[in-house]
């Protein structure tokens, strides 16, 4: 059972986001890249499946700042093979990525491909379902539980309000993971250091990045709020006092 986990690096939203000189794209020259949070869940789900039923977990990351860290951390958690894809990913859209990943995943003979359900910077859909289509495989997203029985997968798909649907999906398949069955495990830095010694990162070149299918952006801007919050300022004790008065005004105290 080959379980491939795809990881994406995204700009950290805690940092300030800037728009570049063209006015139509993010200025990513100084971005801090972090793993898409749903990929942590995809990896956790992959490792859980391996722990339960055996198999090989192969983790794939694009070559951006932080990729080695993502890959070695995955190894420390239990992944078996690490692959870094070389290419110019900063400007690549999801259509291009899906096409590029197709050849790589084919070669890995994946039984199951786990991706994060989506990423915050998507403008042209998600890689998971597009990759599934390129590979002629079924896709289900918003998944928060997977088990494998007799060459089929039983998955739990999330709907609003906590409703779940249990679905049967033939393998091989691509699944978009929203949450793993348990919180992503924590791994000590010392174990990541050990993984750096024990593991080798394989490198593969991205084929041509064909961007067809993504929309052209004319302009990017920061949203203007219709109304901005009235800010309460002062030392903590003063702010607390203002809040207490507000609670009284609003009739809850």
């Amino acid at each position: 059972m080959n379980i491939v986990v795809l990881t994406k690096l995204v700009p950290d939203l805690v940092e300030e986001l800037a728009i570049d000189a063209s006015g139509a794209a993010l200025d990513l020259a100084f971005a801090r890249w972090i793993i898409n949070e749903f990929d942590d869940h995809a990896l956790e789900q992959g490792i859980l499946l391996k722990e339960r039923g055996g198999g090989t977990v192969i983790v794939v990351a694009p070559d951006l700042d932080g990729a080695d860290d993502v890959l070695f951390t995955a190894a420390a958690k239990g992944a078996d093979r690490l692959i870094k894809i070389k290419g110019d990913f900063i400007a690549a859209n999801n259509h291009a990525l899906a096409r590029t990943l197709t050849a790589i995943i084919k070669e890995l003979q994946a039984d199951l491909v786990l991706t994060g359900v989506q990423a915050h910077n998507d403008l042209d859909g998600s890689v998971g379902p597009m990759l599934a289509e390129c590979l002629q495989l079924p896709y289900v997203g918003y998944v928060s539980g997977v088990s494998i029985n007799d060459g089929k997968s039983a998955i739990r798909k999330e709907y609003p309000g906590g409703l779940l649907a249990e679905m049967e999906v033939t393998l091989p398949a691509v699944l978009g993971i929203q949450a793993a069955e348990q919180p992503p495990r924590y791994v000590a830095v010392s174990k990541v250091r050990q993984a750096m010694k024990d593991f080798h990162i394989e490198e593969q070149d991205a084929s041509d990045l064909d961007p067809g299918g993504a929309p052209e952006v004319g302009r990017m801007f920061q949203p203007e709020a219709a109304s901005h919050a009235e800010m309460l300022t002062g030392e903590p004790a003063e702010v607390a006092e203002k809040l207490v008065n507000l609670f009284k005004e609003l009739g809850v105290l």
Binding site: H120, G125, L163, G213, E216, R219, A229
Partner: protein, 320 residues
């Protein structure tokens, strides 16, 4: 090739989802700039009646036993057939558990352009998408020939997509639906919870800014002092710090308390869509440009760990 705007209706166990009405409203705006019709596309099994309050020029109804409940494979087959054949100017899908399983696949299968996370259209028919947790908007011309678009809430009200008059319904053909690779086994109901946050008048909501499970106690203490209930954003629930019944947002519950007190929540669209029914939102965040301040009535740019304990003490004192 037509100038019509298709809306792929979403429904779950006999109930049409709000996003469907939001999409009908969005389609109306877009159809004005393309001079086309709004066409609601309804897939189901004996489900024609669901269309009775759609604000649309026409309903295309596709009926098949395999369409009784949503599965990605069946919807992909039916919609690639329909959209490939009819070539509307655009097809709108929800950026949801249903629409997101279909739109990206169709983009590759039919070789059609795809725009995701569109919040609204401009008067001249440009898409405006909301990305980066609500911090950035991206605007562009509607791609040709048929634009596949996933819609997020926020730009239109569901009521704008409802009508008192029933629309005219045309049945359309369904391709063979055999050898489906995805099948529904059953639904699993949410567990019955100790409290129903959608009915609570005073919510203390915690986000990733709370840092760890132990710190939840700070929020609990404040909630207890003031007589409220603690709830949280998705990362807090996914880390196991709060029960899933306390999840506020797109995948959790929508809430409408008198006060929604948000601690360390950035205000991502998936969270905000479920709190706009609150009377008064008060937000505490260290980031002065956190999107939560764009929906809050009152804001405090501060470290919650410096504020919450002091506040809890003062609330206790005020209560005497």
């Amino acid at each position: 090739m037509t100038q019509d705007i298709y809306v792929i209706i979403e429904h779950l166990r006999g109930q049409v989802s709000d996003i469907s009405y939001i999409m009908l409203a969005a389609a109306r705006e877009l159809a004005q700039s393309t001079s086309g019709k709004v066409v609601a596309v309804l897939l189901g099994y004996n489900a024609k009646g669901l269309a009775k309050d759609f604000a649309t020029d026409q309903v295309l109804y596709l009926d098949h036993a395999a369409l009784a409940d949503f599965t990605s494979d069946a919807y992909q087959k039916v919609l690639s057939d329909l959209i490939g054949r009819e070539q509307p100017r655009a097809a709108l899908f929800g950026n949801t558990s249903i629409g997101s399983d279909v739109a990206s696949v169709l983009s590759m299968r039919l070789g059609l352009p795809l725009v995701s996370s569109c919040r609204n259209f401009t008067k001249d028919g440009k898409f405006v998408s909301q990305i980066c947790g609500g911090k950035i908007m991206a605007e562009g011309d509607l791609p040709a020939p048929t634009a596949l678009i996933t819609i997020v809430p926020g730009g239109y009200q569901p009521d704008q997509g409802r009508s008192a008059e029933s629309p005219s319904i045309t049945e359309a053909g369904v391709p063979a639906l055999d050898a489906l690779r995805v099948t529904l086994s059953k639904y699993i109901e949410p567990e019955v919870a100790d409290v129903d946050i959608s009915k609570e008048p005073l919510l203390i909501a915690v986000g990733r800014g709370i840092q760890n499970k132990d710190n939840i106690e700070l929020a609990e203490a404040l909630a207890q002092a003031i007589g409220g209930v603690v709830c949280g954003s998705r990362p807090v629930i996914d880390q196991g710090w709060l029960a899933i019944s306390r999840l506020v947002g797109k995948s959790g519950k929508s809430v409408k308390p008198r006060i929604y007190f948000a601690l360390g929540i950035s205000g991502a669209p998936e969270h905000v869509e479920a709190i706009t029914g609150s009377d008064t939102i008060i937000a505490v965040n260290t980031d002065p440009v956190a999107p939560i301040f764009n929906v809050a009535r009152y804001g405090i740019e501060a470290d919650m760990f410096e504020l919450v304990e002091v506040l809890t003490e003062q609330v206790k004192a005020a209560k005497g």
